[in-house]
Each structure stands twice: as C-alpha cells, then as structure tokens.
Subunit: 358 residues, 2 copies
C-alpha cells in the first residue's frame, strides 16, 4: 500500500501528540521519521513508530524532556537529553553545534541520556543547509561482535558525513559500521532468504547465511567481515562511534547500551545515561571561500561519476545519490508500506483513538 | 639486520640535513619516520627515506618550505605546506589545531601543498599527550577503485582517531580505508605469495589473488571488498578523506593526486596544490572532566578486552595494542630491516657522503 507524505506525516504527528509531545516536538519527530521514509530508508521511518510508543509505555522515553547543555566551551558541549526521543534531542544538539560553528568556525556536541535518533543523515543535512559540513553518529543496542569475539558488544553504530556541493546535490556518506545494517537483515528474514557469508556469525563464531542467527546467539560482523578483509577496521570505526557518542558524553557504551526493543530490559548495572550521539558542524568558509569549495565539489562529483565503470550500465554511485533518487520518486508516487507496518500503525491509531490509515 | 633506534635516527637526520632541511625539520622528520619503525609499521618508516630523496631530486619536495596559515577562523584553518615534507608540514598544522583547541575547545586544519606525512597515528598522538582527542587523515596516490569501477581514483586514504585513557595506553584507530594497505601487498609481492580474494581486482574488475596485479592495470578495493559486503562504505570513507583533505584545503583530489613515486610524473592538469591532509584536536575536558573520561575509557578497554573470545588464545585486540607491543619489543631488541632496505639506505649514505649503516 502506498501513502502520500502529508498523510503519513499528519498521522505520525498525531501519534506523537497523543504520547504527550509538545506541538513543536511532535512536528520535529515526525519530520525526522518521514525524511527516512522519503529517502527510502524504510527501516528508520514510520515502521519504527510503534517501537517508540512501546518504549514510552515502559517509561523508557520521556515525551516532555528538559533537554539541556550540561558542560561547554566555545566550540564543544555535552547535552543531556533527559531520556527524550532522539528524534528531538539530536536536532536540539545539532542546533547548538551549528550556532557554535557560526560564531567560531566549528561546533561539536556529545549527547547522553537520549534514545534512537532516526537517520544520521537528517541531522547532518541540517548543517549542509547552512553551507557547513555535517558530521553525525550514534551508538546503538549491541548486536555486533568485535573481531575475534562472538559476543555482541557494539551497535551497528552509523557514521554520517554530509558535504554541500554546487550544481550537484550534497554528498552524503551515511553508513552503518557493520558489514550489513540491521534493516537489510530484516528484509532477508521477511523474505525467508539466506544472507551472504560475511554478514553474520553463529554463536560459535562461524559464518552463517541464516538471517535468523541473531535469535540463537549469533552476532553481526563489523565492516570487513573477517580479519583478513579488515574487520578490525570496521571494529575500530564502531569503537570510535561508541567512544565519541558515549564515553565522551557519559552515556552507556558497548554492551551496556539499552536495547531499542521494549521486551528486552536495559542492563541493571548502567555505566551512563541512555544512549549517546556525537554531532558536529564546520563552516566550509572557515577553510576556503564557499564558491571555490562548491566548484571543486562539483568537479569531484563529475569526475567520480565519470570513472570507468566495470559494466557500462552501472556507473559509480556518488554517496547520497540513491537516497535522493528515492526522495524524488516518492515525492511523485508516495511512500510504499508493507502490510505488516500498516497493520501495526493502525493498532496505534486504535489505541490512541485517532483516524486509521486506509 | 637489526639496528638500534638512536643509530637509525642519527642516520635519518643526517640524510634530511644533507637534503637541506633545517636542524629542527631534520629532527622532526626523522622522529616521524622512526616512530613508524618503532611501532612496527615498516612500510612508513626509514624504508621510505629513499623515496623522499628521489622526490626531492625531482624538485617535487621543498626542504626549506615557508609553511603558513592562509585562511582561518578561531577554530579552523587552512595551511599551505609550500611543497614541504608532509613529515614537517603535518606537525606544524597539528600544533595550530591544538592551540585552537586549547583556547576554544577544538581546532581543525585542512592542509594543501604537502607530501606524504608518514603514519597518521604520529600526529593524532600529539593531541593525546595534551589530553585531547586526535583526528588525522590524508589523501594519497590513486590506487583504489570506487565500487562498480575499475579505475584508480583514490588513495588508501587512512583515517586515525586517538583517545587518551587512564591506566591503559591510548586507543589508536589508525586504518587505511582500503581492504588492505599497500604495505601488506608489498609483503606478498616480496614473498611471491597470492593475496586473499577481496583485496585487489584486475583491470577488468574481477577479483584476483595476484599481488602484482596493480602493475597490469589492476586496482585495490575499498574496505568491504565488494558491494554485497559494503565496499560502498569503504568508498564513502575514502571519499570523505579525499574531500576533507583536498577539496576543503585546495589540494589535488581523486585521480589528480601526485604519485609518491618519482618515476611517475604528476598529472599535467592539477586541480590543486600537492596532496592534502586534514587534522583536528578536541579537548576532552570540553565535554566532561578528564578524570571521568579516563576512568570510563579504562572501563571500556577492560570490558572489550574481556569480550568472549572465539578461540581462548586469541582475545579481542584493542586498536593501538599491536603498535604499542611493537614499540616495547623494538625498544628492547632494535628495529629489524630487510636487506633491500639497508642496501637502499647505504646508497643514500654514499650519495650524501655520510657514514653507512653496518
């Protein structure tokens, strides 16, 4: 079934309002989720709404948070999200980073006591709108094992860099630091199809193609898959995300990160508050005039798009292109949702007494 | 053959002095190279000295550079290296970043018109000594093809993050963004051994295990190796390094990066000046008290070292541990050099009339 963006947006806002969010927060949280759906990242869009509701029901999400700066210098800050939705905590923190960058050239904010913040790209693109470079990351529920281990110690810990360009759209590198994002696994699970070797290991630490292996003690593998192909690099990147997001901010790190799902309780020996993010912004014109930078970005993009392809009908893809194409297509044709998601959303509608999707 | 650190250091300083470097620059450049040898990163140590000499002979390295800031805000700067050794340009720029960080919380420097800067970890660890987080990267001669391409468009473009800890040594993530660093390829070439599938492709874009495939039009693969295993992420990271190091600074990017080897001429249509780096420093106490951070880093390290191992005798390796172990071992036993490197260094000794290694 396909829905228009405004229809899903209104629906989502109403759910957040029913949970007790302010108008501004409901609007913002819906904007972050809808942007994911529009950009084709279905795993991070309205499909996740019922997950937020269930965490709120368990009192693990605070819909009237007092989000505030608890420590700062001219260009750095730590923000406490007061257990709020990451969907509103992260834009608050990004605003702080951008104000610091506007004044001093750059701004960097570590965030503790937050929750899932949606797609990393949303927050990084806020900076791009101001001709800044955006840099965002978050830690997440432990699903990934470090190289040489079969214990789930890290989340899929995404990193995003976004760069403004001139006539071309921005370059947006938005990537999980695991070999495969959890969303891809869920697609294979629904389709009942095996996954490629190198995505998951079973509980003994052997490669498996069973997409359900996480349910029997398996774990996701870091980018690089095994030591020989550089999984220690994927682990190093994921560790970096964990340290910047949580050790620096005072959030939970590693295996102590609270699970996103309401049926798993957070560890009872927390090492910090909630989950952590790390966001930053740098003014491009802190380094060189913006027009020069954009002209060179355009040349960079043009040259990489023209790189010799292995197959003539599959040119090089510039980071961010697929998401932009989805955005254009879905603006025209609407957002497709699988039946399970529609059903799930209509259960929420019923629970809160708002109009169902049809 | 094995040499003591002071012996190789004196030798290296004398070579740089003979090339016309100032005392201070010769001392610094030797320090960067020797640190690589001590840390077991042989491909970036004195083995590279003759390469610098040959580039200097071709007038592609300026040993009396006027390194200066050409653009800045309180926390950002662009440095022009005046075609100097990256080994001295990068420490200059890191000093700028650290001074800005000391005053404003963070400092970020893009560098153009530079050359190979040695190991990324050297520069990042300068920040750690001041209880800052160090962040360093550089672009490099094109050897890596983007996903879906068989054209060499990017260098092995390393990224390094270094974090101070308390009772444990710093965590240092220092990694090429390709599946394998060029140094590992050289080891296989010397040994005449095949490399694992996923490191290189031949000129048609097929995986090959031939370590010499770069000589016949092949290319290195990004971290992730192929699309299915996330090579687009390795490409995205490498693109990020290229953009921050060169598009932001005004250096050459992508296929325009000048080759490190003197027998290949730089492209005759440069898009910038020399090669580029990007360096940064953030004060830890810009986010939380340093003692709290260090205590949590120690707990992070302890927990990850204790992660359940797949094989009991291979525990999880914390990023930076192998390099530190090499440093301890080589301090005791000296630096081993293969015969070809010793011969190469003694050719330099003869050329400059300084005492040979024996």
């Amino acid at each position: 079934m396909t829905f228009s963006e405004p229809e899903l947006r209104t629906f989502t806002e109403e759910i957040f309002l029913a949970m007790g969010c302010s108008n501004a927060h409901a609007h913002l949280a819906a904007d972050v989720l809808l942007r994911a759906d529009m950009r084709g990242i279905d795993s991070h869009g309205v499909a996740r709404l019922s997950g937020y509701v269930r965490l709120w029901e368990k009192k693990r999400i605070n819909t009237t948070p007092d989000i505030k700066i608890v420590h700062e210098t001219p260009t750095t800050a730590t923000v406490d999200g007061d257990a709020g939705l990451g969907l509103v905590v992260a834009p608050f923190a990004m605003q702080v980073a951008m104000e610091k960058a506007a004044q001093y050239g750059s701004g960097w904010v570590a965030i503790r006591n937050s929750n899932h913040f949606g797609i990393a790209g949303y927050h990084a693109l806020l900076a791009v709108e101001k001709d800044m470079i955006g840099y965002t990351m978050t830690n997440a529920s432990p699903l990934v094992a470090p190289t040489f281990s079969n214990e789930r110690m890290l989340g899929t810990n995404p990193i995003c860099y976004a760069f403004p360009a001139g006539k071309y759209p921005p370059v947006v590198v938005d990537m999980a630091t695991s070999a495969a994002a959890n969303g891809k696994l869920e697609i294979a699970q629904r389709a009942g199809k095996p996954v490629p070797e190198g995505w998951i290991q079973d509980k003994s630490g052997n490669f498996t193609t069973d997409p359900h292996a996480l349910k029997t003690g398996g774990s996701l593998l870091p980018l690089g898959s095994d030591r020989e192909h550089g999984s220690h690099k994927g682990f190093g990147l994921s560790a970096t995300v964990d340290i910047l997001s949580a050790v620096l901010s005072g959030a939970n790190y590693g295996p102590w990160v609270p699970p996103f799902v309401s049926f798993l309780d957070p560890p009872d020996d927390p090492v910090g508050l909630g989950i952590g993010h790390f966001l930053g912004a740098m003014r491009v014109d802190g380094f060189r005039p913006i027009d020069e930078f954009k002209a060179n970005m355009d040349n960079w993009i043009h040259r990489f798009k023209s790189a010799q392809p292995i197959n003539a009908n599959q040119p090089v893809i510039i980071p961010g292109e697929p998401e932009l194409e989805a955005e254009i297509e879905r603006k025209k044709n609407g957002i497709p949702l699988v039946n399970a998601v529609v059903k799930d959303l209509n259960v929420l509608a019923e629970r809160f007494g708002i109009e169902k999707l049809m």
